[in-house]
Symmetry: C2
Subunit: 314 residues, 2 copies
């Protein structure tokens, strides 16, 4: 197994990527505060470049490459946000990036990878399909693989969102982030541990591999069936080791709760979040008794989705 990332890696990543990423704003909402009966601080990574926090980890990975590796280019598989992030990060260093994407990916996410100059290779819908296609690409091109989440460079980069949040907002009691592959949760856990802040993961009940894994003490894969397309991955091996003794719990929410929370954020906070980013907000609402009178940080992870197919219009 790769060496575990540390808090110091997150700090180093923040310095490394500073010139490339956007320092995203933190917003608040009286509606959410009233609902939770606490004070909630929303870190708007939907306003990050590429529309998602994934640009942090991708930038850290790209700017850690040697010049020799640079010349080889990078490759990854992604349902969208990591792919777009890696494509744009590679462009900031004038490198090639090949992105293996399921052909069923959200259209706007495919268009984003194209817009950032990534070379797309479409594959089937399963993780096995993705991995097989990526192996093929690596063999063909000699590119350096950059895993979307189970990679210490990625974890350290994703942790910089929570680092910025703690720098801007004093005395947080707790941070809630979504968990898919677990890169963000792992990076956030490292920051929270340092500052004595509690951490919860949040995930769809219909993609609750992290919850099951945490409860069982070993990684358990599930068959995800959720609207939160960014959270369909199974928690990574490295990431599970990072989080297992650092998070307080994983809070699960229903599909209806995710959609309602997403709509609530659009209607009340006036910002566009994708379903995955609504998951921690849904968790705040469902488990509000955990957050009464707390100062709560939430990472709104992304805002990429097809505006033609909003979930409340079915």
């Amino acid at each position: 197994m790769a060496e575990q990332p540390t808090f110091e890696d997150v700090v180093a990543a923040a310095q490394r990527i500073e010139a490339h990423i956007r320092h995203t704003p933190v917003t608040t909402s009286k509606s959410i505060d009233d609902t939770v009966d606490g004070r909630v601080f929303l870190k708007c990574e939907n306003l990050q470049r590429t529309g998602a926090f994934k640009f942090r980890g991708a930038s850290n990975a790209i700017w850690l490459l040697s010049d020799t590796e640079c010349a080889r280019g990078v490759a990854t598989h992604s349902s969208g946000n990591h792919g777009a992030a890696l494509a744009l990060a590679a462009r900031t260093r004038d490198m090639d990036a090949t992105i293996v994407m399921p052909a069923v990916s959200v259209r706007s996410k495919i268009e984003a990878v194209e817009a950032y100059g990534g070379n797309i290779r479409f594959c089937g819908p399963t993780m096995a399909d993705r991995e097989a296609m990526l192996e093929e690409v690596l063999a063909e091109t000699g590119a350096v693989p950059v895993h979307p989440y189970d990679d210490a460079r990625i974890v350290a980069g994703q942790g910089t969102a929570a680092l910025e949040l703690t720098e801007e907002i004093d005395h947080l009691d707790v941070i809630v982030v979504p968990v898919g592959g677990g890169g963000l949760l792992a990076g956030t856990s490292l920051v929270a541990e340092r500052y004595g802040i509690a951490v919860y993961g949040s995930e769809p009940a219909q993609a609750n591999d992290a919850k099951q894994s945490l409860d069982a003490g070993r990684r358990i894969a599930t068959t995800p069936d959720t609207i939160a397309d960014g959270l369909r991955a199974t928690i990574g091996v490295l990431n599970f080791e990072v989080i297992r003794n650092r998070v307080r719990d994983i809070l699960t929410v229903s599909e209806d709760e995710i959609i309602a929370a997403m709509r609530f954020v659009w209607q009340r906070v006036k910002i566009v979040v994708e379903p995955s980013a609504a998951v921690p907000v849904a968790a705040l609402m469902r488990y509000r008794e955990l957050f009464n009178e707390q100062r709560v940080g939430v990472v709104l992870t992304g805002g990429n989705l097809d505006l033609d197919a909003l979930p409340w219009q079915d």
Copy 2:
């Protein structure tokens, strides 16, 4: 005619309402900058309390009332944003507010007035319907009328958005705002004149009374037919006098351009704006040659709309 408001009135309004309003963020978008080939600063009044800049003018009017006037309550007519703003502003001073609304108003705007504790009286769709019903309410209740736009108190309050923008962003060359009744444009003109910044109004071609009035040198009413429900009013008498020698031009845009700009802001800037707020963005895109290499301020006026009936889904 009422006395014209001045720049000093805007400064006084800013101090008066400071404790009540939200100092909204200014955001930028590389996508918009690239489209315009300029540098665009978006003042996010969609994140203002009540979801629109109207809360500024309403707060200024409310906090200028004498204690005796307070006891009488206030009343107004509004298709939505001013009504919600006046209802909440009245609540900050523990007063009654009666809002005359067309029964055909956007549902979420009706719900907002209710949520802020306003007493709603529904009326027919025309301005004459609104005014007749308001007269009735004033006779019944003895309330103090607060006109939605043609009122020096309102103009001064609306101007505080541009004042904040100029305080935060140096060296603006030009500011673009939408024009309906003209309160925002009038207030913005007072600020821009003081700092030597050019001002453009922007309005739907299908509600182009301000453009026609400016060209003719006298107020001309039209029959508005636009998705931008906040811009259906005819420019006010007072406001026309304020703007006629202060704005460079009124830029008109088509319904399709408004919808495309609205979608662009949602998709790329990741914030929720209502059609009226997309009008100045549409103007930037249609008349981009005016803004090349300029530093451009835009007031994104509001974010209130029915999420169930998005215009690109017809």
